[in-house]
Amino acid sequence: MNKKEKWPLSPSLESTQHASIKKQYSLFIDGEWVKPSSGVYFPSINPADESHLASIAHANEKDVHLAVQAARKAFPLWSKLPASERAKYIFRIARIMQEKARELAVIETLDGGKPIRESRDIDVPLACNHFFYYAGWADKLAYAFPNRTVEPLGVAAQIIPWNFPLLMAAWKIAPALATGNTVVLKPAESTSLTALKLAEIIEEAGLPKGVVNIITGFGDTGAAMVNHPDVNKIAFTGSTHVGKIIQKAIAGSSKKATLELGGKSANIIFDDAPIDQAVEGIVNGIFFNQGHVCCAGSRLFVQENVAEKVIRKLKLRLKSLYVGNPLDKNTDIGAINSKEQLETIESYIAIGKKEGAEIYQPTCNIPKKGYYCPPTLFINVAQSHRIVQEEIFGPVLTIQTFRTVDEVIQKANNTPYGLAAGVWTDKGSRIFNLTTKLKAGVVWANTYNKFDPTSPFGGYKESGYGREGGVHGLSAYVKLS
């Protein structure tokens, strides 16, 4: 099937005209746009065509200090503000984001390479919903923590990754503000633009100066934030490697931390599952956002008696995925976020081949310029393969078969990570059996990669600790007595 395209789809590009990107971005500190003290700027690149989008300020220790000071200065006022007033500000941020939803979606796609379908239908609406949700909690904290006295922690240093730039900023900022904390946030160096747009929105919403400070830079900037003595709370989403460094850095201090780190999540298909929908779930599990998802269902376990069928259907489905220009409304798989990440993914694909795993990639018309990787399957692998053990963070799926329920539980848990899992079966009792035994923060049943502000998210083991989202997300930002 699909030998020759009889009816090809014409390009259907989202317009970029309404997206205003400045040539250069300074740091947003104490309600002002401040030049970096080093004077150094670095480029933000569009991974879809390697074009230059904007120059971004590189904050150093001095700038971090200024930002933390501003947040500290704003803390007494913000934390003492009547909670319903705090809520109004957060609601206002959410509403302005909604008004600018299309612009935010386009910039997110330009800067990060994710398909416009996802930034438009998932990232931006979810980010807005997080602000709406936590705005609602601001004056109801007594109900979230009955019979306790709730106090904010102080200054929160928040460091977010490049895979969901705006959404992660919302996950971090919204609960911190709702509970009365002030914030210094740093987006990842390759995707700073939507966080800077969010700074403009926060400015427009008229938040008191210094309540939210957004600074940009690299790992050294993040390190300066973590090590700053006047920071009370670290919230980090990113790699397990950096998570460990942060953990060491704050050992012995009174800084509280939540870490949301890597994963190698199991997606488990039983023989009684609705197979066609499970195949969709596999696709959404691993190819959503080019596989740049910490909870991606990157380890597929298929019951051996249906493995052939599942793999055949999966291969067929991959042929109908469009890989290419992220701004095209029909694109399913966009650009890999950066050159470095593409190299990492390619090195893992080489490792998989070297390990002797059977590889499958559909033929795709990949653009000549930009960073792209076709959806990739590794079939007939074992737990002992490196590609099964290590997080690849790309559109690469490893497929193993299993025979019994006990075997798959054991293998699914046989990983240093424990962020998420998926279970596909027609049997309700089996779902509950697995959800209680899988050591993962989130277990999806007959679906995958579903997110909602009301639902807590976080991991076991090397996937980190603390929960974001839901009532649980509030407790990471409060002192209870």
């Binding site: 099937m1 699909n2 030998k3 020759k4 395209e5 009889k6 009816w7 090809p8 789809l9 014409s10 390009p11 259907s12 379908r117 239908d121 009684d272 599952a273 609705p274 197979i275 066609d276 929908q277 499970a278 969709e280 779930g281 055949r312 067929l316 109908s320 409304k329 029909n330 027609d426 007959n446 679906t447």
Partner: protein
């Protein structure tokens, strides 16, 4: 070797409604623009079974519809004709005469359409009559009552016998999915119909709501995909009832493209059963040509 009915039941895939809804919603976010839109619209026109199935059908009505079938909108050059007209058996001979020397086929409903509540002998007779009158295609209905009673063997045998009565005419089997109610039932009925000899499977009679929802069509396309993978034999698909807009037609075509592949994108393998779709497609085509949305009065009603 033909599969037994118990094997068909055993092998029928389970269907998760929520998952199907999500898949369909994703197809509906696809955007068809520019040349692919024009191509898609023309393809849709060429796949229509222009239908009149009313108690008040007359020769006059059928004549007008037959003319329209191959003169959809003569002011646009190079428009295709529709695939077929679909009428009651009593109108087959007349329609056949009206459509001589054209590419348009004549399809006849049969088997005590739409309810199918008649003895098998009557259904066979009904079918043979339509074939003798010159029908190129037969649209039969399955016995939904028997299906819901669990008498799957009966349903299978009936289809097999009608297939035999069809001779050279192609057989479309109408499941009347609105009466089967669950997607699991739709899937099983599709498998039974395909294995019993259907050349096409068709969603609905047009008399029952809901009719051809994308969720139902998707489920049936999956049955066709699985049968092709097992046997290498292509089966056709005909959603009928409720597809009245160009957008919905294009999304249906995209779904066929994604589930089955471009080989199915001809009226040999895909049809729309519709009475009002053609005019909406024509209005869209006029818009693509002129840039202006015309009033519906610029498109003929037949």
């Amino acid at each position: 070797m033909a599969k037994t009915v118990s094997q068909i039941i055993l092998d029928a895939s389970k269907v998760d409604k929520v998952g199907v809804e999500e898949r369909v919603a994703r197809i509906q976010t696809r955007s068809v623009k520019g040349t692919s839109k024009v191509q898609g619209l023309k393809m849709a026109l060429n796949m229509i079974d222009l239908t009149t199935l009313e108690g008040k059908d007359t020769q006059g009505k059928v004549r007008q519809m037959c003319y329209k079938a191959h003169h959809l909108h003569d002011s646009i050059p190079d428009l295709p004709a529709v695939a077929a007209v679909c009428v009651y058996p009593s109108m087959v001979k007349f329609a056949k005469k009206e459509l001589r020397n054209t590419s348009v086929k004549v399809a006849s409903v049969s088997t005590a359409f739409p309810s199918g509540q008649a003895p098998l002998e009557v259904k066979i007779l009904d079918t043979k009559f339509a074939v003798d009158q010159g029908a190129d295609e037969i649209d039969m209905v399955i016995s939904r009552g028997k299906f819901l009673q669990g008498e799957f063997q009966f349903v299978y045998d009936e289809i097999a016998q009608i297939k035999e009565a069809c001779g050279k005419a192609r057989l479309k089997v109408i499941l009347e999915t609105g009466e089967l109610t669950t997607l699991d039932n739709v899937r099983l009925a599709s498998d039974i119909a395909i294995h019993a000899g259907a050349d096409f499977i068709k969603t609905s009679t047009g008399k029952i709501q809901p009719a051809a929802t994308m969720q139902v069509t998707y489920t049936m396309l999956m049955a066709i995909q699985d049968y092709f993978a097992e046997t290498g034999i292509m089966i056709g698909m005909k959603p009928a009832g409720g597809i009245s807009t160009s957008k919905l037609a294009l999304h249906n075509l995209l779904m066929v493209k994604e589930v089955l592949g471009d080989e199915w994108l001809t009226n040999q393998w895909f049809r729309f059963g519709a009475s009002s779709l053609a005019n909406d497609v024509l209005m869209q085509l006029i818009k693509c040509e002129s840039g202006i949305y015309a009033s519906p009065d610029y498109v003929s009603i037949d």
